[in-house]
Symmetry: C2
Subunit: 271 residues, 2 copies
C-alpha cells in the first residue's frame, strides 16, 4: 500500500478505533495497514486522543504489555447529554402518546436507532470503569438499548426470554413476581448463554417496581454470577416503592396529570 499522509492516517485510525469500542488494537495493526513507522503511529494517536478528549467525543486508552495497544472508550459531553435528554422529554410529553390504561406509547423511541445510540453511549460511559462480562436484558423493548450498551462496552449481550425455545438447548427458568401487577412470571436463559462467575449489568427500557430487575438477580445466582449495576431509560417514579435499591435512569416519569399531560423530567443523573 502506498504511504498515507498524517491527515489520512488519523482519519482511518479514528474510524478503526471508534468502530471497535473497548477493544484493544495493537499498534502493529496500524503500522502494517498504513505502512508507517511505529513512531509516526504513536504521534497520530496523540493527535486523535487529544482532540477526541477536548471535544468530549471519547477517550483513547493505552494498554501496555505484550497484548497491549490502544482502545477507544465512548464518551459524551454533559451539555450534549442534557440537550439530548431534554429533547427526549419533549418527545415523551406529547399527549398523543397516552394510550388506554394510562400507558405511554414509547416503542418508537426504544426502536429509534439515533436515540438508542446516544442513550447507549450515556449509559455505557456510566459503567465504563467497571470490568463487566455481560450486558443482560429481558425481551423485548430494551433489546436495542442493551445491545448498544454492550457494543460500547465491548462485551457480549445476553437476552433473557419469557418462554423457552428448542433452539436454546438446556435452559434455566425461574419464577419472579412482577412488582407492579403482583403476577407470577417466568424468565429463562440458555445454560450456554453465560459462563459461571460472571459480572453483569442489567439494562432495560422502563422500571416500575423493579420486580424484573430482582428476578434477574435471582436468575444470575443460578449461573453463580452477580449483578453489578442496573440502568433503565425511564424510571416510573409514580411507583415510589422499588424492589431494588441502586439503579440509574435517564428520565423520570411521575404520571399523567388531570389534563392528560405526561409529567416527565430528566433524572438526577443528568446534570
Amino acid at each position: 500500500m502506498k504511504k498515507l499522509s498524517r491527515n489520512q492516517r488519523v482519519i482511518a485510525i479514528t474510524k478503526m478505533l471508534t468502530d471497535n469500542p473497548n477493544k484493544i488494537i495493537n499498534l502493529n495493526t496500524f503500522t502494517e495497514k498504513f505502512n508507517a513507522a511505529k513512531s509516526s503511529i504513536s504521534e497520530d494517536l496523540v493527535i486523535v486522543r487529544e482532540i477526541l478528549k477536548e471535544l468530549n467525543m471519547g477517550n483513547i486508552e493505552t494498554i501496555s504489555g505484550a497484548a497491549g495497544g490502544v482502545k477507544y472508550i465512548c464518551n459524551i459531553s454533559d451539555e450534549e447529554k442534557r440537550l439530548f435528554i431534554d429533547e427526549l422529554c419533549q418527545l415523551l410529553k406529547d399527549k398523543e402518546r397516552v394510550i388506554p390504561g394510562n400507558f405511554i406509547y414509547m416503542t418508537d423511541i426504544m426502536y429509534n436507532p439515533q436515540i438508542v445510540y446516544k442513550a447507549g453511549i450515556i449509559l455505557a460511559s456510566a459503567f465504563s470503569n467497571m470490568d463487566i462480562d455481560y450486558v443482560v436484558t429481558v425481551e423485548t423493548k430494551g433489546i436495542p438499548l442493551a445491545y448498544e450498551v454492550a457494543r460500547m462496552l465491548g462485551v457480549q449481550l445476553v437476552i433473557v426470554r419469557h418462554d423457552t425455545k428448542v433452539t436454546e438447548g438446556t435452559t434455566v427458568s425461574i419464577n419472579y413476581i412482577s412488582g407492579s401487577s403482583r403476577r407470577i412470571q417466568t424468565m429463562s436463559l440458555s445454560k450456554k448463554a453465560m459462563k459461571k462467575g460472571s459480572k453483569c449489568i442489567f439494562i432495560d427500557d422502563f422500571m416500575k417496581a423493579g420486580g424484573t430487575a430482582l428476578g434477574i438477580v435471582d436468575l444470575l445466582k443460578e449461573f453463580e454470577s452477580e449483578l453489578l449495576g442496573i440502568a433503565v431509560l425511564i424510571d416510573n417514579v409514580g411507583t415510589p416503592k422499588k424492589m431494588v435499591n441502586k439503579y440509574l435512569s435517564l428520565i423520570e416519569l411521575s404520571g399523567i396529570d388531570e389534563n392528560g399531560s405526561v409529567k416527565i423530567s430528566p433524572s438526577k443523573f443528568i446534570k
Copy 2:
C-alpha cells in the same frame, strides 16, 4: 472555541459523520463547531471522503440544496467481508453447537455486538441504494442485527411481536403458517408503529422455509406498505423449498452430517 488544525478537524468530522450513518449534516454545523471557513471544511471533507473510499471504509455523499450537506454511507471491502464470513463459518462448524433436535445453537453469535456490527454493515450496504422507511424484524433473535442495519441506513426499526401488549395501544394481528412446522402462528404490530404507504426491508437471523417472511408481507399489506427486500444471516438450504423468491443471506447451512459436523459455507452473495 479556539481554532483547530486540519488534523484535528478531519478527526472530529470523521467521528461526527460515522456516528450518524445516512443522516445529512449541514456544512454550517462544522463551520460553527470548529470556527472554520466553509472553504476549509470543504477541503477537509475531500480528504475524509478520499481516504474512507480508498480504504473501503465508507462513502461521504454530498446532498445539494437548502436542506443539503454531507452524509456517511457505510461500506466494507470484499476482502474483509469474505474474511469475516469465513471466520463466522468456522465458529458455526463447532460440533459443540449441535443441540438435541439437530438444532444449531447460534444465540451467542446473534448477540455478539462485534459480529452483529459487521454483519449489519454488510447487509446495510446491500440496501443503501434503496430509499426505505423502515427495517422490520420479528422478535427476538434477529433484533440486534435488524437494529444495526436500521442504524446504518438511518431509519426506524420496527419489531413485530408474537403477542399483544397493553403498552402498544391498538394493534393489528395476522395469522401465518410457519413454513417448516406448518403450525399456525400470530404476529402483531402496533398501529402507531408504521406510517401508511411505507417501504420496508425485513431482516432476520435465520430462514428455514420463509413462512415468517411471507407473514411479514401480509402484515405490511394491512399497513398499506410494501416489502422491498429480505435478508437473513443464515439460510437453511437444507429446506430447499422456500415460500419467498428473492432474498439475501450471508451464510448457507445445509445440515448436519453423519459425524455430527455442521455443514455450513459462505453464501453466493459473498464473493
